[in-house]
Symmetry: C2
Subunit: 236 residues, 2 copies
DNA sequence: CGATCGATTGAGCCCTCTCAAGAGAGGTGG
DNA sequence: CCACCTCTCTTGAGAGGGCTCAATCGATCG
């Protein structure tokens, strides 16, 4: 039978506290779906028919404003949930989820959520924890946008990406999926031009190494220094 | 017995779907606390001993950065929950909650949360919905800070405050609690000087009427126009 | 009635955006 | 396999929105 291997998901936060039988019961209802690079898992405004767990790959969640501007909400790492609109009382997805690499997701029908939660109440408390964590992270972002200069915000963003999706390479830590200057601009509330200028500068100082949709942190510690620098701190 | 009157809270989102008996069971464990204007319900970093429902008054949730800058996370209206740190897996409060008016809160010990959730699973799903809504609102804020000018952000903030805590008065809609230019600055990621200048301008145009910690929207619709104006829209 | 806290307003600057070109890298189709 | 085309990145020049610094005014409260 084409059920999903329990060992793949047993340790995910969403399934914390479940035994093998329960897990099996939940996974019974899931389908595994391949999503090709640069295609959407779901789109903003679309009816929230399913919710997902990312098994493999990377997904970008982004929002478009009525006036057409785009902002990146977050990058989803393997093991994280996405599209839990139904659980938080939304009938439609509030953002678009796009695979930035060939990815694999587990999908459940949103309609199954109420029943699953009734049978497995820990699903609700686990999801509550996850959503709470995201709320904290989003507040951090608001604080940064309110109090820091662009340079600090970008440094923080890169460090966070490296922590979340870093892959060790010879010259440092690479961000393990394709990401453009534009993406970083949309994460930090600035323009791709400013990002490009800043990254060029950092590259010349040897802090990073970068190319087309590729960034490697050579000196993470130096970036931390930059990130924590006060706006008018001209020491160095 | 000094139990809390069920009718006061029966219609709150947190208690959606509970019958009188269940509500009674939950309220058994709550204490009602008066919080004087300008005193803290709880403080950022403090152990999250309790969670709360605001019954009466208004509370400001704010965060302080390591470097001392302050930002306003949100204003809590009567009926809303606050301090649900434990439910989202935090041992300490991530923000400070300050009564901006004499207020009354219901308080439960955080330690009781797991037990309450086990007995009344709907508490978890209701809270999930609430936290999800806050996440959406915070994302909206990020989008605004990323894409809009200060003027639009402040207009949006005022309109939101009026919707959430507006009181009809002769000359328009008053924000029903004391709020300073500084508070608005900390909500919108700007400075009190810029807020002051903008509000002065609006007052001269007759859009608002304002005083010490007091703002009345005279022409909400005009503010909507302002709020939705494109950055370079010089028509009018 | 004094003291404290909030609001106002001016002057000047600077960080970041906008506008504008152009170069490089990769992918694709003939 | 090469030529082309598209997408990303780079870099310059100039402008401006909002911040910083500074001083004063006004109101509320004890």
């Amino acid at each position: 039978m084409a059920t999903i291997d329990i060992s793949l998901v047993a340790k995910l936060p969403l399934f914390a506290g479940f035994d093998a039988d329960e897990l099996d019961g939940i996974l019974q209802e899931a389908r595994s779906i391949r999503v090709a690079k640069n295609t959407a898992v779901f789109e903003q405004g679309e009816e929230a028919h399913s919710f997902f767990v990312l098994l493999h790959g990377h997904v970008r969640a982004s929002k478009v404003t009525p006036t057409g501007e785009q902002i990146v909400v977050r990058y989803v790492a393997p093991g994280e949930t996405l599209g839990v609109a139904m659980a938080i009382g939304l009938a439609r997805y509030p953002a678009t989820a796009t695979a930035v690499d060939d990815s694999i997701v587990l999908a459940w029908l949103s309609a199954a959520w109420p029943r699953l939660v009734e049978r497995y109440p820990a699903l609700a408390t686990n999801t509550l924890r996850t959503v709470g964590t995201r709320l904290q992270e989003t507040h951090t972002r608001v604080v940064e946008m309110s109090t820091q200069q662009v340079e600090q915000r970008i440094a923080h963003a890169l460090l966070r990406l490296a922590k979340q999706a870093g892959r060790k390479v010879e010259s440092g830590v690479a961000i393990d999926f394709p990401i453009s200057r534009q993406d970083i601009a949309q994460m930090t509330g600035t323009t791709l031009h400013t990002v490009s200028r800043l990254l060029s500068g950092w590259e010349q100082k040897g802090l990073i190494e970068s190319g087309r949709q590729k960034i490697i942190l050579r000196e993470p510690h130096q970036l931390v220094v930059l990130a924590e620098q006060a706006p008018d701190d001209t020491s160095s």
